[in-house]
Amino acid sequence: MTLSKHPKTLLVIVAEAMLEQRLVADARARGAQGWTVSAVHGGGQEGVREGAWEADRTVELKVICDAAVADAIAEHVMATYVPNYSVVLYFCAVAVLRPDRY
């Protein structure tokens, strides 16, 4: 069987854990059909976030979607959260087998 692969965009957002619910809601409102969240820890220009207690936690949100949806989510995140919160955001080109799921 040959696999039929379809191009999609993987949008990855790393942000303060307290933004998780809002980010998920924002992503869904802009057309994301599925998402994955994991707890992570690390550091950057704003300092180290070890995830040791409530206000120190960081999450990584992954959304696979159409490029236009990823752009819409990213634009919103850039305008709403980036000015005041620690946010990492990047895109990857990925291939999926069932395009209607994303």
Binding site: A39, E46, G47, W53, E54, A55, D56, P83, Y85
Partner: protein, 310 residues
């Protein structure tokens, strides 16, 4: 003699300073904090079931007033130390709110010294969580247009785990009473101090990590972190005295006033005042004030209460 739970805290700080690989799993931290909040609430609730609620109204009102007043009094001082408007507002909100663990250590210290206190004091903790945060948000919003996201803040403070579990525990304890809670006493009441010791070990690790950050923020954070607690404790003690509380009650009220929140406040301030520097507030509250209160402050506040009520 220093309280045994404080020694656990110091061990945590030490482990951090010598860069030990000691780290408590996040799930354990979460479990311990849920346990402590529920146990403190339950213990207060059981006592609550023994007395008429109306008699507590003046205490509740005083707690709200104290929580609201602290940020308004501290704000000009923080501004005088050249903190930006948003940073100052967020910082003083942490001090208006309270630290449950500081309260727990103070109760343990009182019990060890055999000093009686109002057993429903957990109610004061629950009541004092929110007013300081409201005051901090009002200060941040002063002279600025826009309504802001009050609904989200209200939801996260009232239904956040600290207030939810404290009030939930109080309610369960009050409804079930002494008899109803007897079957769970072996879990929620008896091992309390051991769990507190373990939790303080973890907080020692966290606070030790914040100590290194102190240099980043300069003298203002140190002045506030060390200077505010004794002054606030005095205000709290006088409030307790005016309410006619017992010696232990006055000491607890002083401790609550002197303590700074590090669970509810950081989250609420991130939502309501996102432009404030969160690391600055946390460094003052958790890196300086918390260790100060645990090690030096609480014995001081107990002595103060004894002098005032003598």
């Amino acid at each position: 003699m220093i309280d045994v739970v404080v020694l656990f805290f110091l061990l945590g700080v030490f482990a951090r300073l010598v860069k030990s690989d000691l780290r408590l799993p996040e799930a354990l931290y979460e479990t311990l904090s849920i346990y402590l909040l529920l146990a403190i609430g339950l213990k207060g609730g059981i006592e609550l079931s023994k007395q008429p609620l109306a008699a507590l109204a003046p205490q509740v009102a005083a707690c709200i007033a104290l929580g609201l007043a602290i940020p308004f009094v501290m704000y000009p001082l923080a501004r005088a130390l050249r903190l930006a408007r948003a940073d100052a507002a967020a910082l003083v909100a942490h001090y208006g709110s309270v630290s449950v663990v500081t309260f727990a250590v103070a109760s343990a210290a009182l019990a060890r010294k055999g000093i009686e206190h109002e057993s429903h004091a957990a109610l004061w903790v629950a009541v004092m969580e929110a007013p300081g945060l409201v005051a901090g948000i009002l200060l941040a919003r002063m002279g600025r247009s826009g309504v802001g996201d009050w609904r989200r803040v209200a939801h996260d403070v009232l239904f956040g785990k600290s207030v939810l579990l404290l009030l939930g525990g109080l309610a369960i304890g009050a409804v079930a009473g002494v008899e109803g809670t007897a079957p769970i006493k072996a879990v929620f009441i008896d091992p309390f101090k051991g769990v507190l010791a373990l939790f303080l070990l973890e907080l020692g690790l966290v606070a030790g990590g914040r100590l290194a950050e102190v240099r980043r923020f300069g003298a203002a954070v140190v002045v506030i972190g060390l200077g505010a607690p004794p002054l606030l404790a005095l205000a709290g003690a006088l409030t307790g005295l005016a309410l006619g509380l017992s010696t232990g009650g006055v000491a607890l009220m002083a401790t609550l006033a002197a303590s700074a929140s590090y669970i509810a406040a950081p989250t609420a301030m991130r939502i309501a005042v996102p432009e404030a520097n969160a690391a600055l507030s946390i460094t003052a509250a958790l890196g300086i004030t918390f260790p100060f209160n645990i090690v030096v402050g609480i014995p001081l506040y107990i002595t103060l209460a004894q002098r005032l009520t003598a």
